[in-house]
Symmetry: D2
Amino acid sequence: MKVGIVGATGYAGQELVRLIIQHPKAELAWITSNTYKGKDYHRCYGNYTKIYEATCLEQDLEKLCQEVDVIFLATPHGLSSSLINKDLLDTVKIIDLSADFRLKDKEDYKNWYNQEHTNPSLLKDAVYGLCELNREQVKKAQLIANPGCYPTASILGVYPLLKEQLIDHQSILIDAKSGVSGAGRAPRLGTHYNEVNESTKAYGIGTHRHTAEIEEQYSYACDEKTIINFTPHLVPMHRGILATAYATLKENYSYDDIKAIYNQYYSQEKFVRVLDKDYFPETRWVKGSNYCDIGFKIDERTNRIVVVSAIDNLIKGAAGQAVQNLNILYDLEEDLGLEQIPVFM
Amino acid sequence: MKVGIVGATGYAGQELVRLIIQHPKAELAWITSNTYKGKDYHRCYGNYTKIYEATCLEQDLEKLCQEVDVIFLATPHGLSSSLINKDLLDTVKIIDLSADFRLKDKEDYKNWYNQEHTNPSLLKDAVYGLCELNREQVKKAQLIANPGCYPTASILGVYPLLKEQLIDHQSILIDAKSGVSGAGRAPRLGTHYNEVNESTKAYGIGTHRHTAEIEEQYSYACDEKTIINFTPHLVPMHRGILATAYATLKENYSYDDIKAIYNQYYSQEKFVRVLDKDYFPETRWVKGSNYCDIGFKIDERTNRIVVVSAIDNLIKGAAGQAVQNLNILYDLEEDLGLEQIPVFM
Amino acid sequence: MKVGIVGATGYAGQELVRLIIQHPKAELAWITSNTYKGKDYHRCYGNYTKIYEATCLEQDLEKLCQEVDVIFLATPHGLSSSLINKDLLDTVKIIDLSADFRLKDKEDYKNWYNQEHTNPSLLKDAVYGLCELNREQVKKAQLIANPGCYPTASILGVYPLLKEQLIDHQSILIDAKSGVSGAGRAPRLGTHYNEVNESTKAYGIGTHRHTAEIEEQYSYACDEKTIINFTPHLVPMHRGILATAYATLKENYSYDDIKAIYNQYYSQEKFVRVLDKDYFPETRWVKGSNYCDIGFKIDERTNRIVVVSAIDNLIKGAAGQAVQNLNILYDLEEDLGLEQIPVFM
Amino acid sequence: MKVGIVGATGYAGQELVRLIIQHPKAELAWITSNTYKGKDYHRCYGNYTKIYEATCLEQDLEKLCQEVDVIFLATPHGLSSSLINKDLLDTVKIIDLSADFRLKDKEDYKNWYNQEHTNPSLLKDAVYGLCELNREQVKKAQLIANPGCYPTASILGVYPLLKEQLIDHQSILIDAKSGVSGAGRAPRLGTHYNEVNESTKAYGIGTHRHTAEIEEQYSYACDEKTIINFTPHLVPMHRGILATAYATLKENYSYDDIKAIYNQYYSQEKFVRVLDKDYFPETRWVKGSNYCDIGFKIDERTNRIVVVSAIDNLIKGAAGQAVQNLNILYDLEEDLGLEQIPVFM
């Protein structure tokens, strides 16, 4: 199939370009960029020299949609919803990497994103594209809301526990650590090398927008309105999210009890690796790949479970999951174009 | 006064050497090192060329103690307790940076350190040298157990809340992030550049030895046996600990209520900086200094408080606090030799 | 074809494993490791969980060679030459990533490696596997000496200038910068995170062993005994070599003159990218790939040319070039299994 | 004495603030900032919380000069020369950290900085403040041109060789490596964490402005017009410059011959440390200090000498040397306020 990428010069967009070029069944028809329109791609990213030197186009979707079957939107929230309309969705399938169609309720969107949703009528048709959970809906979707990076790690890690009612849904805390690429390519003081390197900080405590996305999916899982504490941290590394989740177990489950549940949910999943006892994820072991690694520990002293999950925020947390959704949409092997072994350094 | 440093070639030892050399009232009489004995110090650490080129001695304390008033032990746990005895304590004051005299109960020591304490009779006399809490006892101490790095950040951050009974002591979780220097200078795969850089991981989940130290001090603070979840993480940076603490508030306190409590405890403390509303610590802002920065946020949706505290693990978390204890012992200005402004990069 | 990898748990060995697993025509029959023999591979490198969990075997080549067509030796110098013999070479083809068969003269080996060569009779048959220079000889080789990382960057950058007699061969200086992975996985103080990160140093000034390898190939190129200054530097990054070469031009050549020469040599080469005027290599643009990027500048004030070349030391400087040699040996497309787009971060 | 700092929120400005606050004889009367005027300093740099919370003023020097004895200009080139005039110089002494008064010839300035010098009449009176070379002139100066970072490392390393006519002045190449802080605090793509970290590149090959400054001082040293190759590189670290200089020796000097020359020039210098044979500088060993470390090697095979010098670009390469000049101006101990031991990590 033919695909186009809107916002190809951001970091998630660049990963999409890289994955699509190497995908055996997808052809990259065009790319657009607001920041670099008119510029050749290898002048934006020198790694593409002699590999992909196409010019970044202006984002005229009415015209560009005629040339493709699928459009990826790697655009900021707010922009995505303004670009999509019914006509466009009649012509192409859309995989939106922004946050615009992830929350079902436009009020939630308004509360967490501090702006009115410009296209609320489409919310009900959008499918939340967390592949391992919503595979069947994705197959039939016209508009896929590709999950956020923190939510992907947070939801995959805790989902079986909530679904199986093993934990108190009011007790969940997520303490997450992210690399710097999640903050995007636009230069700001907050991503300046000398301001980021060799330091760690918390940010958006209690207010990060991904909180709403995680809570909505948690609520679906346990069938109860779920409120959590979510605290993201910025760590001096390029890629990777490590989410450490804490929750109180409803009963005294053994390690093997819990492990069996995880296996039931994930042993058939190519991209979710539940680690053996006493092994825990490290972001390097999933780097450059679409894997989500999960490990857990039961703390018998407090009867809490600690679940650690790791993803590459740009792959499973963005471009890789988007390609996985593309594969599902087209009934391809789910790992087509995503077989990369993690690079680790 | 004259001081000697045992274990001067480890990272904490090196910081001690640096601070003591620059201390206006202390004189560095000798240094010892097991790994580098017989070697000149600037061959171990090139920064000391033309500054301090003394030879690392063998650790013969019986003899060396005659030349000094105070001995710093920057030695591994287990070794410290075997080096100290009554005779030595009659001759010199000892500031022990190891874990050997931090826990009051030898059973706790055995449980968490997997070995018998070799010198349990001294435990009751040792003073836990968290300066801001135990200043008065430190003044009269002969043996000071200098606190661990994680405990220093974790205790200073939460102490006022526990002492004033504002939080449920059974609800506390600490998710901590540390730089690599905490792992020491001995080369191991776990500190190899290519295995540590560009990655984040949790380790010692539910089993890290500092858990016991934090719990003991928390228990003293709230006068109830306190059990916590403590999860340390390794982050790719040299220095710094960021501890993110979570606890359930007993009532609906306002930000200002809590801020007033923190001010009551810390506004007179030189080395504890409680940040203004909506400001949170970053490890870079305390780097190279003896400060502990604290910020907090009340999450009204869950009625939990999130307290973030940051220290330089080698300074306030080790050598700096040791020097602060030295100053207290000798009734000097507490910040003597510790006036360094954080270097931030 | 079937291949085996000796020394699969070192960094170059790990890259070989990763490339071979993903190679469409090669099958990985076995791996060996001295350090980790008997251990499963994903316990040595967590990225291989659920991907490649084979056990590291002992290095019994007499037996193991029966199962494969090609053996890669990712072993230290000295060990490689002791493992190879005529019988083995009659059974399998060998691609040796060590330095043992790179220098033609056993006296050079002795002088630079401070040990006698244990297998000098094989030196004359070994082919120096710098693919772009020696493609024809590689095709017929039984024993391929895979080039060093610094030599690959240094030779590819300067070769056309020497071959075409454009520069004074006595004027060449190479100032090279390498990431830390070149130092291998064995933990040493020199690769400890806290000793390497945030610092840059020169090392092996005038004595680095790769000097001999570069000089030998330079001498072949210009047909005169060539002596150079070679100064490697260690830079705090995982991967990458940047070699900055300086030489005096014999005449006043224009940029276009020189560019035409480079194009003549490299425009048909998939893995050598000569950059446009005023563009210069950065190691990130080749990271994770088999490319060698080259840029140059003529300094008219001194009539010197400055040539900058960049490779990923573990790919084009080791495992990638080894696979490229494998492809040449088997008359496959030269980029089979090596199509990875550089990852840049 | 009282001092003011113009441009206090840039990286060099921040180091000046830090050093002046800790200086026993200097008092910081005011700071200015274009970017952050009206803002409190600890909101620009969180490390100053509870230490220095003064407000950044507008840069009205006519008025501000009345309150101080010395003004430091930590401003971009072009701006410094426009701020200085005779009246100002009659009132205060000025230490200018920009490039505006470093080159004696306004034509050189125009050629290398691509702009007319706005204040050429002051050029002849400005003293080039490389302390170890020009101490006597500095003592009497009203306007001090504080040297650039690359020039400080490059000149100190090679000066004795040129002055003593030991090397061919036409043979000099400088290959320098710098950390990122040299690029300043303004956010640009080129200093974005994800674009800088884990990569090395050359830049400004043959065109970097510091070339002129180095050449001018080299020419004074050997009394002949000297042209060099200067190639700076960007390395992923905060601080530090390592300059590797190459030159052809005029005769076959021994190591001891050369060492004796270096000792003659520098053995009395507090801030220049000539290392012992076979020891070479690393940027970490001077980090956070005003030291310049120098090591050298004679390559007998080519009869070239390789000189490696290291400084902290923000200290000896900027703010530290500025304070050293202040001390000289006021006839104080040259290391007053500059006794910091390098921090190394």
